[in-house]
Amino acid sequence: MTTETIEEGKIIDEDAPVVADNIEALESEAIHIFREVAGEFDRPVILFSGGKDSTVLLHLAIKAFWPAPVPFPLLHVDTGHNFPEVLEFRDRMVDRHGLRLVVAKVQDYIDDGRLSERPDGTRNPLQTVPLLDAINENRFDAVFGGGRRDEERARAKERIFSLRNAFGQWEPRRQRPELWNLYNGRHSAGEHVRVFPLSNWTEADVWRYIEREDIELPSIYFAHTREVFARDGMWLTAGPWGGPREGETVHRKQVRYRTVGDGSCTGAVESGADDVASVIAEVSASRLTERGATRADDRISESAMEDRKREGYF
């Protein structure tokens, strides 16, 4: 029998359900955010790279609107430096769930001279312009991203609804206060809002959710044998973006990727983790952050991420 007493405004129910489970609470929060955006915006889009965070994002979107289809398309900013396994995965997801995919290609911009290749060959920083053009051309007003606050300290200050000006820029000192679960998506013409439903998730939460929900990921997240060479303390792989330079030797190693990005600057880690459970064990034992370990672009300076966010990157 349920006993209910009200004592000094505090409500005590001795048969009360326990405190929300972490993963369930995070899932509910993300679902709530998806539904808010569907109710408040005209043209939302999900930024989808095929990486684990955006795959979790897509999984949540499908659950949020079930049994109706996801009411928005996907947008992929294609650096041209893709892992083939990831492109194949992307197309399969789009087919399986009957989604519409918009692709913005960095290569097109390089081909017609709007962007030029950087001396270091990495194309992650080149994504910003095609991303903003795609947002403007398609008049997207809400853009879902898989960013998490635990990834990097500039992101720790990011809002769940993050207003971007007409140039896609983030203005950290002009952010709106965000209270309770009340989100303010009002914006002027030309502005848009970046929405981060995974803000409060950690890397460990994302992996536990992948395990719980049995979410399929691109195969490169799990241990496989690959020819790699060492640069800047990371294992890089050869591809259309280039291969080892003089003095860099190629090794065959058992590796996996912790993040999926531009192939030229995303490093693999040596790992034997070939399923989700062993990845979780490995991640919890790791003493390096996923970005610090495997992303050259985030190691350029103390403020690398903040600078790119200000320019309009995620």
């Binding site: 009360a16 489970d21 369930e24 606050r149 200050k157």
Partner: protein
Amino acid sequence: MTELLRLATAGSVDDGKSTLIGRLLYDTKTILTDQLAAVERTSKERGEQGPDLALLTDGLRAEREQGITIDVAYRYFATPNRKFIIADTPGHVQHTRNMVTGASTAQVAVILVDARAGVLEQSRRHAFLASLLGIRHLVVCVNKMDLVDFSQARFAEIRDTFRGFAAKLDVQDIAFVPISALHGDNVVSPSPSMPWFEGTPLLGHLEQVHVASDRNLIDVRFPVQRVIRWQATGFRGYAGTVAGGVLKPGDEVVVQPSGASSRITEILAPGGTPVSEAFPPAAVTVRLADELDISRGDMLCRPGNRASVGQDIDAMVCWLTEDAELRAGASYEIRHTTATTRARIDRVDYRLDVNSLHREQDVDSLRLNEIGRIRLRTASPLLFDGYRRNRDTGSFILVDESTNNTVGAGLIGGAAETGPEVVWQRTAVERAERGARGATVWLTGLSASGKSAIAVELERRLVAQGRMAYLLDGDNVRHGLNADLGFAAADRDENVRRVGEVAALFADAGVIAIASLISPYAQAREQARQAHLRAGLRFVEVFVDTPLEVCEARDPKGMYRRARAGEISGFTGIDDPYEPPEFPDLVLRPADGDPSAMAEAIAALIGG
């Protein structure tokens, strides 16, 4: 299973808050080698001895360069039983805004006090804000115990002072922990330097604090976020996040505001898995036995336990912007649960000094970081509870419609009470003794909109029921009371003012006064309403919203034709503006039926 606990930390850099958070992250192994290496590098560059753990939490370049914290930052760490989200709020000038933001979602507040400085004004402010925002558990960390020789007496002194003023606040659970964040004493492990402390170290306390009963599991509240339909299977369900109570299949529910009732047939978790119950903060989809007209912003409740419905609301508001002040008379967008409407600030009752808790009367504005009690009026009714009863249905934000910024955070006290607030020459008869309760129904709308026909019908109906009602018709009063007035703007204002005052006298006498006049200007109507509110009388504004084309086609007195021909000037709707009410109590449109049906709708509103 890992539980989720949300914390807010309060204290300034001087209290060692960043060091404490850095210590928690470091000792729970949340800080990874590359992050620590970056901190060590920067500390060395600045010539500091040892890593400055505060650097871990200063996210933006400007903060690192200026050694300040700009904004609320969120940190995460986990122990085997719990995952913690810390809303880390800076302690400088903008503190109130940031702490209110961080505390809005927190279950526990960690307040830092420097053992050398003792309980300062800001400590009181932190405790008050935590209690205002409905945080039921406080942990007071008396930090820098190493600098007071780990003195038990000093700790006891601070604890007793803090308890003294916290007794005045609505906080049930306060724990005190003497710590040294710099050296790690009593943060994760018990301190060998303070064997006299018999309590639990901070982390152990945070792992055990009992928050399960903080949620309201009694009042069923389910704000509908989205209606999910899927033609292929004929599926229809109402998606939302449970804001209160426990929902179960088979439960009878009532849909507010329509009042329609139905029964829950099924509750689905995201993705469609049926569940046997749903409680806060679960996001679910609820299916009902009946096909009802339900949309975003509606709320499912239990028939015997409904949310309050109202347009006049008393609330505490914290002002969040420096761009403009909150002012009586100003209008904002208001966001509350899944509903969005407009609100006008009717008045500022007082401003609260967050340090002394003194109420400053005679104010009509609030500036950045100020908190005050206000009354507001919404354009459509809100479905709400008091904030102390339910955080989700008792909170709202105000949005500036020109800048789109979130400018105010509101905590609902309750529905506004109308009570006499000015000194009035008292008569020997109390209002309650007059036998009948008076009110004013104010019909506004264009000429030939149908006001008079509705008013006549309403008066007839009320009198037939044995109630005292009296029609003050705009045309009729111009024969006597207002015979000296013309149709210029100033005369029209005076016409409305006099009718408003007379209506208030009728209402005070226990009569239902029915005022039917074009009353085209919003400000003049507002004055009439204020005259009633001042006297504690009910004022029901009914907007007879008949389109101009329809009125012009009717034209019973040929006035529109003459105005179009230029024979008369200053005619409302033709060459003089009609300002429609922004916050009417009722809107009647031609589709709502004949005058009799409309009169019935008004009678229902005033309880007849």
